[in-house]
């Protein structure tokens, strides 16, 4: 009597729950690593993404199968994106005092950030699909993925560009800003949230409460503004 280990193994790794479990496990490992070290470049999304890709590759599971089986998680991205309206509303209530500076900065700097990303990419010879993936790089990941997919970019890559931008911005942003003489905490927060979204906002919170509040505000404003305006602009130009 010999048990069929091979068949049992295949049944386990191709079970729909395997993809789900793999994602949950990788995420918890990544979170633990991040909480222990607090290194900003150990972003849980990037680390768990690497763990998932590595495991799929080792176990010889195709991405299509993994995608199908982890669809439940991806499905919840929709309501989570809708939920971003709540922090946006809470943050907006706080800024009555600096309403105009915030609005002007959002419009001008938002345009500059987006145009610079696409323009420099174009200058360096990046192809069309990648340009459309670069366009929403200053926006928080769930929105960036939706926008990228909408305007003809690649959602998955947009998420990674966003995270890399966030990590670099959070690592060097505050020092760079001090270097050119920007000292007001609201200005620091605005810059970190607008250019480096969620990771930048986390860093801004370490700098102080006012800085963090403005970072959260500019992140959510930039996200919504880009989500609404960018697809329109692209539809008009292309």
């Amino acid at each position: 009597m010999s048990a069929d280990w091979q068949a049992a193994w295949q049944a386990v790794i191709h079970h729909p729950l395997f993809a789900f479990g793999l994602t949950l496990g990788s995420y918890q490992l990544a979170m633990a690593a991040y909480e222990r070290t607090r290194w900003v470049f150990l972003q849980p999304v990037l680390v768990s993404m690497a763990l998932v890709i590595g495991s799929l590759w080792l176990l010889d599971i195709g991405f299509e199968e993994y995608r199908r089986h982890s669809e439940l998680l991806t499905l919840f991205l929709g309501p989570a994106t809708v939920a971003l309206a709540v922090p946006l509303f809470m943050n907006l209530k706080r800024i009555r005092l600096l309403f105009w500076p915030v609005l002007i900065t959002l419009v001008l700097a938002g345009v500059v950030a987006t145009v610079l990303g696409v323009g420099l990419g174009w200058l360096f010879g990046v192809d069309q699909q990648m340009l459309m993936t670069l366009a929403p790089k200053s926006v928080t990941s769930p929105i960036a993925m939706l926008v990228a997919a909408e305007i003809g970019g690649v959602a998955a890559l947009a998420a990674v560009f966003v995270l890399l931008t966030g990590v670099l911005g959070a690592m060097f942003g505050p020092e760079l800003l001090r270097l050119i003489g920007v000292r007001h905490p609201a200005a620091h927060g605005m810059a970190l949230g607008l250019a480096a979204h969620a990771v930048g906002t986390a860093r801004a919170l370490q700098e102080g409460e006012e800085c963090g509040a403005f970072a959260a505000l500019s992140m959510s404003l930039m996200g919504v503004a880009t989500a609404v305006v960018l697809p329109l602009v692209v539809a008009l130009i292309v």
Binding site: T23, L24, S26, Q43, V45, L46, M49, W57, F63, S70, L73, T74, F76, L77, P79, A80, T81, V82, A83, V86, P87, L88, F89, M90, T105, V112, A113, L116, G117, G119, L120, G121, L123, F124, Q129, M130, L134, S141, P142, V147, A156, L157, A159, L176, I180, V182, R183, H184, A186, A187, M190, A191, L192, L194, A195, A196, S218, V224, A227, L232
Partner: protein, 119 residues
Amino acid sequence: MLLRGLTALVLFQLLGTLLNVLWLSFLPGPIIGLVLLFIFLVWRGEVDEPLAVASTSLLRYLPLLLVPAAAGVMLYGPVLKANFWALAAALLLSLVLALLFTGWLMQRLIERQQRREAP
């Protein structure tokens, strides 16, 4: 509590999808849902408990929800390799310039407003 809030979020997203198919084909459904929820919150003037609970819980796990979608990069190895330096340079340069411009502009505007209020 959680379920009531979650139902509201799902309803807003479905409403967004409806509008997306009917008239707003250039805006993704969840984004329309976000804007609608925001308008609703401004109209109500406050976030009620179920919605606050649901959105906080969902947003806490946002990074986890992003993992399967982000793992899709494994399909784009060749494209990434072909564009690697151009992409890296564009990302880094635009980040630094945008960050500095935002900080500088905001600081200037705040100073201007302060000068005006205290002549």
